[in-house]
Structure formats: C-alpha cells, structure tokens
Amino acid sequence: MLSEALVEIRDVNFAYDSRPILKGINMSFPKGRLIAIMGLSGCGKTTLLRHIGGVLKPTKGYVKVDGQVIHELDQDGLYRMRRKMGMLFQFGALFTDMTVFDNVAFQMREHTDLPEEIIRDLVMMKLHAVGLYGTQNLMPAELSGGMARRVALARTIALDPMLIMYDEPFAGLDPISLTVVGQLIRRLNDALGATSIVVTHDVQESLKIVDYIYFVSDGAIIAEGTADDIRASGEAFVHQFVYGEMDGPIPFHYPAGDFNLDLGVKDQRGAA
C-alpha cells in the first residue's frame, strides 16, 4: 500500500437514531486499486458507501476523497466531487420514466455539452460493454433484474469516473453474466485508471478479481488483506465467511436476545 490513497476513511462512527451502525472504521483505498468490502447483510456496507458519496455525515471521524474531507464540502464542492464518482446502487435505481438510452445518456446530457451524435456513440459503447447493445429503446420496466443492473452499471461509468462504487454488483446475475460483470469491473478499473470499491457478499467471485479485501462485521473491520491472504487466513470468521459455514463466530441473527426465551422453550433461568 505504497501508492497515494484516493479515499481515506479515518475512525468513522455513525448511528441511525442512536443505534450505532459504524464503529471506528479505518480504511484506505489507493489509486488504481480494486477493493472489496464484505460483510453480512445489515452490517453497514451501504451506509459506508453513502459516507464516501457525502449523503451521510459521520458523527465522528472523516472521509477524505482526493485530499478533501467530504463532510466539510459545501453543496457546490460536493457536487463537483460527485461528478468524479460513480455509484452503482444496490437496486439499480434506473430512472423509470426514461428509456435505457436516456438513462445511460443522463449524466452526459446533464454535465457536458456534447453533441447528440457523440452522446449516441458513447451510449452505444457503454451498452455494448455491458452486453446490452440493442436494448436502448426499452424502458426499465421491460428489463429483467440482471439486465437492469447491467444498464445501471453502464450508467455509472458513463462519464468515466475516477472513483467507482459498486453496491452489490453481483446480486441477481446468472453465472455467466456474473463472470462477465466481474471481469468488466476489473477491466474498467484498469482501463480507466480508476479506483473501485465493490461491496458484495459474493466471496468467490470477488476473490478472483479484487486486489484487497476488508471484512466488516457489526460496524467494525474484523479482517483485511489481499485475496491470497484471505484464502489462506486461519482466522475463524474469515474462514466461516469464505466457505459459507453456518457455525462460527459470526452470528447470523440480528442482535435481539434469545429467541428461545420468546418461544418459552427455555425458562428465565436458562434451563431448557
């Protein structure tokens, strides 16, 4: 980790209505790398991405992107910063009142004065890159979930951002598209010289493509390392996560007391 960091997260704490979600997160994303953030559902991955995008403010600590502290920027500064970022939303978030073409062209039309012919060519290129050339006249409602996600991916990279955030890019894809999208993320990162953050549950796929991995559990980092480190890791929770085992140190349940108590199976003293 010698190259200069594009994104630096220092001791970020955050709570929704006094329920702590992030507890002292420290991360650093060097330029040109592809980094994965993994963790169980609800552990705060999306929340973390929202901090990088400046949608949420940390209660403590800061997120620095390209040398600037995100939550100290004013609206103009934040918008200028966001033009250099691309975010793939967990559920695609395509604009449902526009065609696929207009969705991908959206940022080009909003932020550039490119003539319509060039926009057309660019959109076709991006659609081709995600394997959906020919769908430009469909409405989002006419796409399958996986196709919608790929269109969203094309929209995210429309302006060749320097920082690309993917929130669950692999969910809902068939095995072939999954590999294709995985490779695509890798290639885009290298071709654009961008820095990419992939939030995912898909350990096997991401181990194939990423440079570095952070494991988050219950709002804190519990393990980190390169793909090889992770595969070879002897730590119990990493092993559990990588191989998808039921039993291990990571609890599957939302922290809310003992369900057996609720059922009345156990009495208050804990005897079965």
Binding site: F89, F91, F106
Partner: protein, 262 residues
C-alpha cells in the same frame, strides 16, 4: 394513563405538523431558488406540461360542460320565479368565472395531476432514483421538482379558463338552445355584468394561487413520503385531502379580499 397518552399523542402530532410546515416552506423556497433550469431547459417543463396539463384536459372539459349545464337548468328554474330569465347568462358566467371555474378545476387538478405527481416522486424516492440523481451531482429539486412545479402553475389558470368557457357554453346550450332564453339578452346581460378586471382577472389570480398551492403540496408530499408502498399511498391520499382543504380555505381568503362588496 390513557389521558396522558392521548395528550402526548396530540402534542406529538402538533409538533410534527409544525415541523412539516417549516420543512414544506423550505422546500418551496428551494424549488423557487432552483427554478432556473426549468426555464433554461424549457423542454423539461414542456414534458411536465404534457403530463399535468394535457392529461387533465378531458376531465376538465367534460366537468366544465356538465357544471355549466346544471347551472343553466338550476339558474333558469330560480330566475323564472322572479321573471328575470334574461339574467341567466349573468348568473352562469359570474358563478363560473369567479368561483366554480377556479375552484372546481383546481379540485379536479389536485385529484388528477396532483396525486399522480405525489405518487411519481414518492416512488422515485422509494426506488432510490432521487438518491441516484444526487450521487450523479444533479440536484433533484432543480431537475425533478421545479419543472413539475412550473408546469402546474402554468396549467392551472389555463385549465380553469377552459373549465369556465366550457361551462358558459353548457349554460348557453341549456338556456338558449334548449329552453329558449333570448340569445341577445343572454350574451349582452352577461357582458355588461362580467367585468374583465374585477371578475375574470381575479378568477385567473385565484387559479394561479390554487395552482401554486396544489403543486407545492403534491410535490412536497411525494418528496417527504416514507420510501415504502404504504408511505407513498398515504402521501397520495394526503395530497388530495390537503390540496382540497387548501383550495377551499384559500378561496375563502381570496374571495374576502377580492369581492368585499365595495
């Protein structure tokens, strides 16, 4: 303590209501502040004019015609008792231009276009389209809210005028064509009684005010809706209820100012 709980509930509702009024006011100011794009890229507003204005056209025209017909029939019945059937034109035109045109058109507009606006924006929020737009450094107030606001403000007076014109036509059909009131006195009495400034312009001002109120309420409810299916459906209902109340309340206030009888 059920009483204490009830009181606390009322208190919470009041606080929440005041909070929303403040937030709504700020939302309105933001909409005005970020309105530049609606005019620089007028195409965005034209598109919304289609969905708010053109799509409300049929219901406005049909309703206007029916209201005019009913006014013609009822007005004739009443005026006949005093032997002043020739004032039918005046009665129909004044009722429509001053009151029924702006008010009924706005009520129909709220339930036709306003509720659709709320549902659309609420769903855009629920499906993270608004957040996605913000992440793309595009201000959703400028790009999504303001064009809809201006489209509503522009359409409302036009729709109200069409409603009134249709209504006068309906009254004419019933009074002159079917019942046989003298055509000359129908129009001439109407023209000498309906003043351009006092009646027609004031009617236009009313419908402009209603247009602002209905679109602000609709857009705000959509923007503030909880991002769930119930949230959006509740917001849509609130839009119709609150818009209707706002229209009627504003009508009382405006009428008191405009037609004080001096």
């Amino acid at each position: 303590m059920p009483i204490a709980r009830g009181l606390r509930g009322i208190g919470a509702r009041v606080v929440n209501g005041v909070w929303r009024i403040g937030f709504g006011a700020r939302f309105f100011m933001m909409t005005l502040f970020y309105s530049g794009m609606s005019f620089r890229r007028f195409r965005l507003t034209v598109r919304e004019l289609f969905f708010t204005g053109v799509m409300s056209l049929i219901i406005i025209l049909v309703a206007g015609l029916f209201v005019g017909i009913v006014l013609g029939m009822q007005g004739y019945e009443t005026l006949k008792r005093y032997g002043s059937e020739s004032a039918l034109g005046t009665l129909v035109a004044l009722s429509l231009v001053r009151e029924l045109g702006p008010v009924l058109a706005a009520l129909l507009f709220a339930s036709r276009a306003g509720s659709a606006m709320t549902a659309e924006i609420g769903l855009m929020k629920a499906t993270e389209q608004i957040s996605a737009m913000e992440m793309m450094a595009v201000n959703p107030i400028a790009r999504v809210v303001a064009p809809r606001f201006w489209a509503g403000v522009i359409s409302m007076p036009l729709l109200a005028a069409m409603f009134s014109a249709m209504g006068v036509f309906g009254g004419y059909m019933v009074g002159v064509v079917m019942i046989g009131v003298d055509e000359g006195s129908f129009w001439s009495q109407m023209q000498s009684a309906v003043d351009f400034q006092h009646d027609i312009l004031n009617g236009v001002i009313k419908s402009l005010v209603f247009g602002v109120a209905v679109t602000v309420i609709s857009l705000f409810e959509g923007y503030d809706a909880p991002p769930t299916a119930e949230g959006v459906s509740g917001a849509t209902t609130r839009t119709v209820v609150q818009s209707s109340l706002a229209i009627l309340l504003l009508d009382v206030i405006l009428t008191a100012f405009m037609f004080r009888g001096d």
